[in-house]
Amino acid sequence: MMPELSKPLMEIRNVTRVFGGLKALENVSFNVPRGAICGLIGPNGAGKTTLINMISGLGPLSDGAILLDGQLISGLAPHKIAARGVGRTFQNIRLFGDLSVLENVILGHHLRQRGTLIETLLRLPRSRSSERDSRSAALELLVSLGMEHLANVQARALSYGDQRRVEIARALALGPSLLLLDEPAAGMNSTETDGLCEFLLSLRESSLTILIIEHDMDMIMRMSDLVVVLNFGLKIAEGPPDFVRNEPHVIEAYLGSEQ
């Protein structure tokens, strides 16, 4: 059955997350349309990373529900959510430092790898051809990011900006329908940020939906189709960039009120 194109890809419904007595998120609801780039912004401690962690299954919801393609994903284990097509990166880069760049990206591809333990041990054709396919798919991704020359470098030896890009490549290798990016431009210079913007916009052409947390306002306003603003766990605004930019609540949250 074809998914309805008018239906949102992801629905966040009344999501609440309580840590001890603190409400990190309170009754947050919004939809992410299919094929959109959705910016998630807000001051530090607003609950942005908490929300992304809950979408990817890394923390339980205290209340509410998260739906992907109309199906409930909140409550599933992280690896099952990944298998439904949710890829992500982390604010504090979490590459596998001991492995090479190529191996990191191939790991993202592992759900599509074939060959049982026995087939692998006997070096049967199915596991070998699957390994070759994954290798070339991973290399292709690195080429699209202009990083093929770094394929055999240990991930921990890369520069900060390169590590961020490898993490995105690893998430893309999963073949996700939804990509969650937690501050992908942090620590990048303006040239690298411009390159990243271009690359992310090119991904939208291939019908990928992106939810992106970013502190670089220029980048968010330039790329997003939709911006959601959180402050102290509450959603205070939602709409197209131009609308959100002029919303009094948002200005107050970022600059403080006049009183």
Binding site: S56, G57, L58, A77, P78, H79, I81, A82, A83, G87, R88, F90, R94, L95, F96, G97, D98, L99, E103, I106, L107, G108, H110, L111, Q113, G115, L117, T120, L121, R123, S127, S130, E131, S134, R170, A171, L174
Partner: protein, 309 residues
């Protein structure tokens, strides 16, 4: 049989057994699991073979397969129970399993008497253990027929680990060791692969225990005490945990060192301990540290460079 081999056959046997044991703990360490149940699974393997050969006419090779199968059958439920624990908690839980196995072996006959009509039946023989009858090994192609199976077993394990190392399985286990949260967001079923590593390690240890039975000959609970588990861990720590070559080097050095230091007589244990301490302090990444191999390669290639210039 060459003279060196025949003079040192017992040491060679134990080196091979200990290599297998070192490799059995390596696979769990490579997955980031500090599991110390290997001595327990070794005991299960040894007792299985010892009981089968004293109580029945089943051949040794079938006993070996049964020992490995029993190891797998026990590792599955134990793994499901304890693999939710991390780090030191996992170490303590698996250590506890090893002690349970040892105590069951010590009191096995009481358990047997609960279910058996014959109250005089002795199978486990408590602290004295099971003594296997000695058969003079026949020499085939320069090695005794007790050594061949162990050598082949070690080769098979090395093949398995080397193949896994370069496959998606090795990559997945390494990703769990480095960051299991990140691995799970890539779709890796962390629990599933941890269980795979634990069962593989346990099966290898059970097989090593079974193969050690004809060499040790007296299978008593004291062989499988806490310190046996620590010895096995030491093979991997001294040799290095980043590559399967590590535990091979570690087991070889730690098993042959006491023999090589025999001339020191009473001071042997002190010097032995000192060597281990110094190598762990100065070689924290183990004997298989890539830097050592780099240094070795440079030393070997030096004369060639001089010839060129």
């Amino acid at each position: 049989m060459p003279e060196f081999v025949s003079n040192n056959i017992s040491t060679i046997n134990f080196i091979l057994i200990n290599i297998a044991l070192g490799l059995s703990i390596y696979i769990t360490l490579a997955t980031g699991l500090l599991s110390l149940s290997n001595a327990g699974f070794m005991a299960i393997g040894a007792y299985t073979v010892a009981i089968i050969s004293t109580q029945s006419n089943i051949p040794f090779s079938v006993g070996l397969v049964m020992a490995i199968a029993l190891g797998v059958a026990l590792a599955l439920p134990i793994g499901m129970l304890v693999l939710g624990l991390r780090d030191i908690y996992l170490a303590i839980a698996t250590l506890g399993f090893g002690e349970i196995v040892r105590i069951i072996a010590l009191n096995g006959d009481k358990v047997v008497h609960l279910f058996s009509q014959n109250k005089e039946l002795i199978i486990f023989n408590g602290a004295e253990g099971i003594t296997l009858t000695y058969k003079t090994p026949t020499v085939i192609l320069g090695l005794p027929d007790t050594t061949w199976p162990i050598l082949i077993y070690v080769m098979v394990i090395i093949y398995i680990l080397a193949t896994l190392h370069n496959s998606r399985f090795g990559r997945i286990l390494a990703s769990i060791r480095q960051d299991e949260t990140a691995a799970s967001t890539l779709g890796v079923n962390v629990v599933h692969y941890k269980l795979l590593a634990f069962v593989l390690g346990s099966a290898i240890a059970a097989g090593a225990g079974a193969l050690s039975a004809p060499i040790v000959r007296v299978i008593d609970p004291h062989n499988y005490v806490f310190s046996r588990g620590v010895d096995i861990l030491a093979y991997a720590v001294l040799g290095g945990m980043t590559h399967w070559v590590g535990p091979i080097l570690g087991a070889t050095v730690l098993t042959s060192l006491p023999e090589a230091l025999r001339f020191l007589k009473d001071q042997r244990d002190i010097v032995n301990g000192l060597i281990i301490m110094l190598s762990i302090i100065y070689l924290p990444a183990g004997l298989a540290d890539p830097r050592i191999w780099g240094l070795f390669k440079r030393l070997v290639s030096f004369p060639k460079r001089e010839q060129v210039s």
